[in-house]
Symmetry: C3
Subunit: 155 residues, 3 copies
Amino acid sequence: MPRMTRTPAQIVHSDLHAGATLTVATPGEGFTDITREVAAFLSEAGARFGMAYLFCRHTSASLTIQENADPDVRTDLLTALDRLAPQGRHWVHDLEGPDDMPAHVRTVLTDTHLAIPVRDGRLALGTWQGVYLIEHRAKPHHREIVLGFSGQGAA
Amino acid sequence: MPRMTRTPAQIVHSDLHAGATLTVATPGEGFTDITREVAAFLSEAGARFGMAYLFCRHTSASLTIQENADPDVRTDLLTALDRLAPQGRHWVHDLEGPDDMPAHVRTVLTDTHLAIPVRDGRLALGTWQGVYLIEHRAKPHHREIVLGFSGQGAA
Amino acid sequence: MPRMTRTPAQIVHSDLHAGATLTVATPGEGFTDITREVAAFLSEAGARFGMAYLFCRHTSASLTIQENADPDVRTDLLTALDRLAPQGRHWVHDLEGPDDMPAHVRTVLTDTHLAIPVRDGRLALGTWQGVYLIEHRAKPHHREIVLGFSGQGAA
């Protein structure tokens, strides 16, 4: 039998909702670490206890939370996504180039939306977790990510 | 180095939570656009600034956000899901037919839950983004989606 | 044309945010049902109407919502994840063993974050839905899941 333990519920009064938009100029296919930008938004909004969220306003770029220590993990994740949704197969939708439809598939397999708990004013990420935008198109793009926070504020 | 810019944090007082249930009669395997129904719910609830969410109460149907312009993209996404979780392989769980276990796998690979920011009373979707229910079973089904909103209301 | 029906919007005053941490000792690769623990947290927090959320603080374990009736479905889901992200392929990141990089890929393909509506104090899950932690590593691990609730409380 797996064993579980749970801390007592912490309960706060919550009446704050905050938002901002983050625009990222991607260098083409690959990962961009946006963890610091999310933390800076939370700090500016005075977020204390609640939930941060991110939403990527595109269908060929997406979000994920993954290891921030060894960059080889990101290299291997691109390889894995390339194996799961390879270029070079026949697609009906191919007007925008051979990297377009695979980019849509990779977006569906990863995340358009993420949410991360905020505790004591900080993202409650694990030690090895970073927040990443994944550009799935070959060429550089400008990508918009809507940021938000719901919970208790500083005042 | 990727360049990022971020708008100032917008902060509102938030004290509204709203909910409803959307029932969709699917025509069998494929995508159903539910964007308008989500928007209509937000309008009825008087949602102004916050986060909308959706939850699919099934394990063989799911949600995704994808391109709303060219229907070929949805055709290709079905093809991609069929390649990733094909029928015709051996599954232990096969009592409910050959399309059942692939439907569970496709549900896991896509989304049971989605959340979308609401700004100025509107879904902050990108230009080409639509919200879709994906029926993974071959036959028509009735599917229930729980809708919600957390944030600032109109009054 | 698909037919849709929607219940009227239910609107409540919301000012509660609650949190806790659930620690699970996993027995190695496989699913652990955590539905009851999430429900117990909501009960302790006095949650009435809103949204529960879960966040897994790891990059080689993840969350999903799937069928809770026939355990064969979970067996087949492990088989499916093993086919999608198999061991035995070459990865750049292989210091932590042959099951490590596949574990990262399987985490990306499933969920680090989940959210579930709460209605009348209960998780609004479908009849056949359970909430699961998936251990992707071969050996047992201790895994931390941050729980939260945003919405209306009991008082």
